[in-house]
């Protein structure tokens, strides 16, 4: 059994003596006996480190680590530079609490201030917070920022990631907010629907760029419609797209959110990831969560501190802008380190490689009979094709070669595949994929 208790039995005895107690159990004499556990927990005995390691290694061994991944759909494999891993594993960054004591927490505070600045740069927005849980909750929180008593109907495009949509729905259900899903048409948001429906009750319109199908939507037009109706515009972006595509600000968004996982964070079977949020100046005090601000110490030295706390739960309790307390701090630090490592040229290079490789692949894949592109629209690094054979069998075949194929879509696009390409996919890998597709499968 492992133990991290740094007091020996003898020392504990001494402490009990000091307290005038006979045994450790006496510490619990105020707990009614009838609710106490009688026979202890029904879980296995504790194990030594080596045993636990073996156990967990066995579990890890039951997972397949794919050498080649052509799947994205909200979680993206990008290269994580060694320096980013080294920085993110620095012990004090890992084990510190939220920086409530700024005098001994300038490291964490400054790193978040830098993160906020970078998110502003990426989105073109004025203000960013210190992170929320992930892209989905960032969407949900952004919507909360827009709703008031007069405007409480929320519009979300059907082309956002299904998990995000489900999360937004859940949050809206909770808050008793009306949510309207704007239907998809040809892979993009149905602009006609938007025009017809937005009105003086509309609080916000949320869309994703590129959308779940990888398509670059005409955000500017949608946001024009929203603005006219007096609703706020929320754009959920892929950070790499943000580096080369029109920014949320340029498209007229009031709030930009997104999933920061692509910025140096491992796939990790879905988490921890990183929700980022940024908005225009006027909405600053509606932002949820931590925000770090710059100030001076009493000697006039520049310093950083958690600020605008009057928005937060620990001060405002039921009137807070959100309930968020712990966020994804270390992931934010990681993303900031990643962005520093790549620099403006590196981030754009990743984006351009994603773009170029996806288009290279799309051309080749769609030239294989039966794998036509489903949509005709411009895309970033994901696109949807048909599949002339059983998707499952195709995936199984790819798997045997160490390849995780594209994501099999469901619903209206059942039988279609959402492919994703990043800078990690070499031309060779793509050519190999196409060759396999051409081979076909033994049905």
């Amino acid at each position: 059994m492992g133990s991290y208790i740094p007091n020996s039995k003898a020392e504990q005895e001494r402490m009990l003596d000091f307290l005038g107690l006979a045994s450790l159990d006496d510490l619990y004499d105020e707990i009614p006996d009838k609710v106490k556990l009688k026979d202890g927990l029904n879980i296995p005995e504790g194990k030594s480190e080596l045993e636990v390691r073996r156990r967990m290694e066995t579990l890890a061994g039951k997972n397949t680590v794919f050498h080649t991944i052509f799947r994205g759909a909200g979680a993206y494999r990008h290269y994580i530079p060694a320096i980013v891993k080294a920085v993110a594993s620095k012990e004090k960054f890992i084990t510190a609490y939220t920086p409530y004591q700024p005098e001994i927490s300038q490291g964490v505070l400054q790193s978040i201030f830098e993160f906020q600045t970078m998110i502003c740069e990426l989105t073109g927005m004025d203000v960013a917070n210190a992170s929320v849980y992930d892209g989905a909750t960032a969407c949900a929180e952004a919507i909360s920022m827009c709703v008031d008593r007069k405007r409480d109907v929320v519009y979300v495009s059907a082309t956002v990631h299904p998990d995000y949509l489900r999360t937004v729905k859940t949050y809206c259900y909770a808050a008793g907010r009306k949510l309207v899903v704007v239907p998809e048409k040809d892979g993009v948001t149905d602009i006609a629907f938007l025009k017809e429906n937005l009105d003086e009750k509309s609080a916000a319109f949320l869309m994703q760029q590129p959308n779940f199908y990888g398509i670059i939507e005409d955000a500017e037009t949608y946001f024009g419609v929203a603005r006219e109706a007096g609703a706020k515009s929320i754009m959920c972006i892929n950070p790499f797209y943000g580096a080369i595509g029109r920014t949320p600000r340029e498209c007229g968004a009031d709030i930009a959110v997104g999933e920061g996982q692509p910025l140096g964070i491992s796939l990790g079977f879905g988490g921890p990831y990183l929700g980022f949020m940024a908005c225009v100046q006027e909405m600053t005090r509606k932002l949820p969560g931590r925000i770090v601000g710059q100030t001076t110490d009493l000697e006039g030295k520049r310093a950083f501190v958690l600020t605008l706390q009057a928005r937060e739960q620990h001060i405002r309790r039921e009137k807070a802008s959100s309930n968020i307390c712990s966020n994804q701090g270390l992931c934010a630090l990681t993303a900031a380190c990643y962005m520093s490592t790549m620099g403006p040229s590196g981030i754009k290079e990743v984006a351009n490689q994603c773009l170029s490789k996806a288009h290279y692949a799309a051309k080749l894949i769609s030239s294989v009979p039966g794998y036509e592109l489903v949509f005709d629209a411009e895309f970033f690094h994901e696109f949807v094709t048909k599949c002339p054979v059983s998707v499952n069998k195709l995936m199984a075949k790819l798997e045997r070669q160490g390849i995780l194929g594209g994501y099999p879509l469901g619903g209206p696009y059942e039988g279609c595949i959402l492919w994703c390409f990043t800078e990690m996919n070499t031309k060779e890998e793509i050519d190999q994929l196409v060759a396999i597709l051409k081979e076909g499968i033994q049905e």
Binding site: E91, S266, G271, T295, C325, L330, I347, N352
Partner: protein, 478 residues
């Protein structure tokens, strides 16, 4: 210290990627970004030095004593991080087919079994990313439950005044009105106040037990009865489970829903603010409301199931902060059935030991047996010397010690909320006590010294007022 932007030199970069090996493709001009992208241009050495220096201005659990009340800053074992770093976990795409992620699924399934046993619950979701997120999930389940019974008038959540701020905030986000009830003079839920508050509009009660004063709600059975009788459900804020894990299970005291803070009780690190994990467990009658997807097992094979008609939906994308759950699982397997309650006892022993060592100096807000933490009030000291809880906190910084939580819970004036945790040694508690004594004496003889503290830290006290009035929230490139 310089900001990373101030270390930037135009033209520099790290060479991370090979050149593109396919024909370049470009966005249409009208789709292209117009704004400049001002990120730092630095080499790896500069980045490395930057963060090394930032780390040196950061206080972690290993930097020194860290008795931050309510936060359970226990030691974060290294094996947990090592396991989470295995490529067989860290490099797994969340949307891989089930047969290629049996290890991940089994880990989640095992974690569900263990943490259900520890909390006395029947099912659990690992989707919530933190405690507050778990609270919201749990409250939405409560809402779903009442809705499913067409019991629609239940729009109030009762919250004791000692509760953490997230509780009322979560209630609001879940569309409830929160009703605050004051604590009795013993620091516990006032049964009469509770009875008065409970009624047919009661959706539920959120309770932290032991509460944030460090006191065990010994009337928990009666409390549960009152709430249940009124038709409400009981929600357990698990942030303070540490002192009672393996001793008493929330489920056995009447709670219907529980969240855990794996980043407090189960030794996963805080990351300077996160990520954490806030799994939510519930009794069987509520399981159908849990968020999807859920991990199921059939014939030794594990899979995700989402087809629960009554599910509340989802709290986030994918499956929660999986790598954090893994760390907590590793910890739980390490401690096991005996180690879990031993850790709890160590936490309680340490807290009582430290409380008793200090009680002649600072008044204990609610004397008697404490659990994992205790709350002192510096009010008498302040009256006598002008030295506040904040002054004490700031003075501790000069002694390479993290201060306790201050000014919380709000019902105690000049509160100092101390949680030594189970992984602190008698030796270091004794040393901390010595420092508290020195500070107390200093306060009596030279209060100004404490008003001036800290003096040895990277920066002195900050102008927080200006920070909030004229917020500077990002670097100004101009």
């Amino acid at each position: 210290m310089k900001l990373i932007f101030e270390r930037s030199t135009p033209g520099l970069s790290c060479e991370v990627l090979p050149p593109c090996d396919v024909e370049p493709y470009e966005l249409k001009p009208e789709q292209r970004r117009g704004q400049e992208l001002r990120l730092p241009e630095v080499t790896e050495g500069e980045i490395s030095r930057h963060y090394t220096q930032l780390e040196s201005q950061t206080f972690g659990v290993n930097s020194g004593y860290y008795p931050l009340g309510s936060c359970t800053m226990k030691y974060n074992p290294k094996i947990n991080d090592e396991i989470a770093g295995l490529p067989g976990f860290s490099d797994i795409h969340p949307l891989q087919p089930a047969h290629t992620v049996q290890g991940c699924l089994e880990a989640l399934h095992l974690a569900e079994r263990l943490f259900c046993e520890i909390t006395g619950m029947d099912n659990m979701t690992f989707q919530p990313a933190a405690g507050a997120h778990g609270e919201l999930a749990g409250l939405i389940m409560i809402k779903k439950y009442h809705d499913s019974r067409q019991d629609e008038k239940r729009n109030k959540i009762i919250v004791p005044d000692t509760a953490h701020g997230t509780n009322p905030a979560s209630a609001t986000m879940a569309g409830f009105t929160s009703v605050s009830i004051s604590s009795g003079s013993d620091g516990l839920v006032d049964l009469e106040a509770l009875k008065a508050a409970a009624g047919e509009d009661t959706a539920g009660l959120m309770l932290t037990n032991p509460n944030t004063l460090g006191l065990f709600e010994k009337n928990i059975v009666e409390i549960a009865e009152i709430v249940h009788k009124a038709g409400g459900l009981l929600y357990y804020d698990g942030a303070n489970l540490n002192p009672v894990m393996g001793i008493v299970r929330p489920g056995d005291t009447g709670f219907d829903i529980v969240h855990l803070n794996l980043h407090k009780t189960f030794s996963t690190p805080h990351g300077g603010g996160g990520p954490g994990a806030g799994p939510v467990g519930c009794k069987a009658f509520l399981s159908k409301f849990l968020p999807v997807p859920r991990v199921e097992e059939k014939d030794g094979k594990f899979y995700f199931a989402s087809d629960y008609e009554d599910t509340m939906g989802s709290m986030k994308a994918f499956y929660g902060n999986f790598l954090i759950v893994l760390r907590a699982l590793t910890y739980t397997l390490t401690l096991g059935r005996k180690g879990i309650p031993e850790a709890a006892k160590s936490a309680v022993l340490n807290a009582n030991y430290m409380m008793k060592s200090l009680e002649d100096l600072f008044q204990v807000a609610f004397p008697g047996r404490c659990m994992h933490e205790f709350v002192l009030t510096a009010e008498p000291l302040k009256k006598k010397t002008g030295v506040s809880a904040l002054d004490i906190a700031k003075s501790l910084l000069d002694h390479e010690m993290h201060p306790p939580t201050v000014y919380f819970p709000q019902i105690v004036h000049e509160a100092l909320m101390i949680e030594p945790t189970d992984t602190e040694s008698k030796q270091s508690i004794d040393e901390a006590v010595k420092v508290y004594r020195q500070l107390y004496e200093k306060a009596c003889t030279d209060p100004e010294a404490l008003h001036q503290a800290p003096v040895k830290t990277a920066v002195r006290r900050l102008d927080e007022v200006t920070a909030a009035r004229k917020p500077i929230l990002r670097y100004n490139f101009d």
